[in-house]
């Protein structure tokens, strides 16, 4: 745990609740990214995020310092989102061989993620993240945006580390495949 986070938590425990604003500011954007992707509704996402912060505050007594506040908070948020979503929108198809996700023979050399600018790539990634199976999307969000380790994601999602790694790998392959597909389609449409 970061030293300043430890100090902040101690001050909150001593009754200085205003210090909680520092933690809220630190985790609200990344937390919203996770909630937004899982719930796909901004209003609900902000509501759940607020609820998660309030629950985390009220549950500080139960927070054990063997993990970071961030991991603990994301677990609360993730569980709230899961209970809200109830069932995954895009179930995982783990039977598809990995190499089938690896599209190498793109006939059109002009279709390439290397040739588009960042803004377009961000837009494509955002749209395609929503199309990923929920387990992949959550793993990507936690790994890249929340900067959680494999072990933390494993703990958070209650999945073996190997499964987390596979999900991430499949997610990257799927994203590339889908983005290339869209770029190819857009080029044909033009």
């Amino acid at each position: 745990m970061q030293d300043d986070e430890r100090i902040i938590l101690e001050e909150i425990q001593r009754g200085d609740t205003r210090k909680y604003a520092i933690l809220v500011d630190r985790y609200k954007n990344r937390g919203l990214a996770l909630a937004l992707r899982m719930l796909k509704n901004r209003e609900e996402a902000e509501e759940i995020l607020q609820d998660a912060f309030v629950r985390a505050f009220r549950g500080l007594n139960e927070f054990r310092r063997d993990s970071t506040f961030g991991t603990w908070f994301y677990r609360i948020l993730y569980n709230l989102c899961v209970s809200k979503v109830r069932q995954p929108v895009h179930p995982v198809d783990s039977t598809l061989p990995l190499d089938d996700l690896l599209v190498q023979d793109t006939a059109d050399e002009n279709v390439d993620v290397l040739s588009i600018d960042d803004r377009d790539l961000f837009r494509l990634i955002e749209s395609q993240l929503e199309e990923l199976p929920e387990a992949y999307m959550v793993a990507v969000t936690l790994f890249y945006l929340q900067e959680r380790t494999y072990a933390e994601i494993s703990e958070l999602m209650a999945l073996p580390i190997g499964t987390v790694k596979t999900n991430l790998h499949r997610a990257r392959l799927l994203l590339r495949k889908n983005i290339l597909g869209i770029l190819s389609k857009e080029r044909i449409d033009v």
Binding site: G15, A21, K28, L60, L101, Q104, V113, F122, I179
Partner: protein, 190 residues
Amino acid sequence: MKADDEHLGAADFDRLMESGGDPEQIVQADVHLRHCPRCRRVYHQMVRIDQALRRLPLPRPGVEFTAQVLRKITGSHRAYGLSASIAAVFIAILGTCFIAFGYLLASRYLGGEAAQQGSPIVGQGVGVVVTGVRWGISFLDSVFAGLLSEQLVRAVVYVATAGGFMLVVDRLLARAMRSRLRVGRQQSAG
């Protein structure tokens, strides 16, 4: 190692991206990349997506978000404080009633044998109160040497008793509230 005889497979790209696994296989894949433009292109695409995922713009909740969370937390404190205040008033009323009841009984039995011997009606508790009050009245009576009326002296003793009782209740409630807000230091030290 390869998806087919000529090109890298999904597992190779995973190893290259993660820089994990068998070092010899990573070296082989790396050598292959140098000589195969098609696989190199796929690898660069995956790296580009990987880097873009790390730099995806984060959504931001409303400007009032942090303040709203703090208001909710403070609100919960206020609600708790309010319930504690109501509890304090309730206990104070109960205490006052109890003392008033004792006062009536004491008035009735004071001077008689019942208070000293313990009446089956008032019970042992009231007997103790009556005895205490008798001592208080005797003490004040000796100090003021008949300057004050007996009724006034009694009233002072009962008000002081009720005040002391409420003070103790208030201290106990305040202590309970503080301990509720504080995370156990022993737990954090552990």
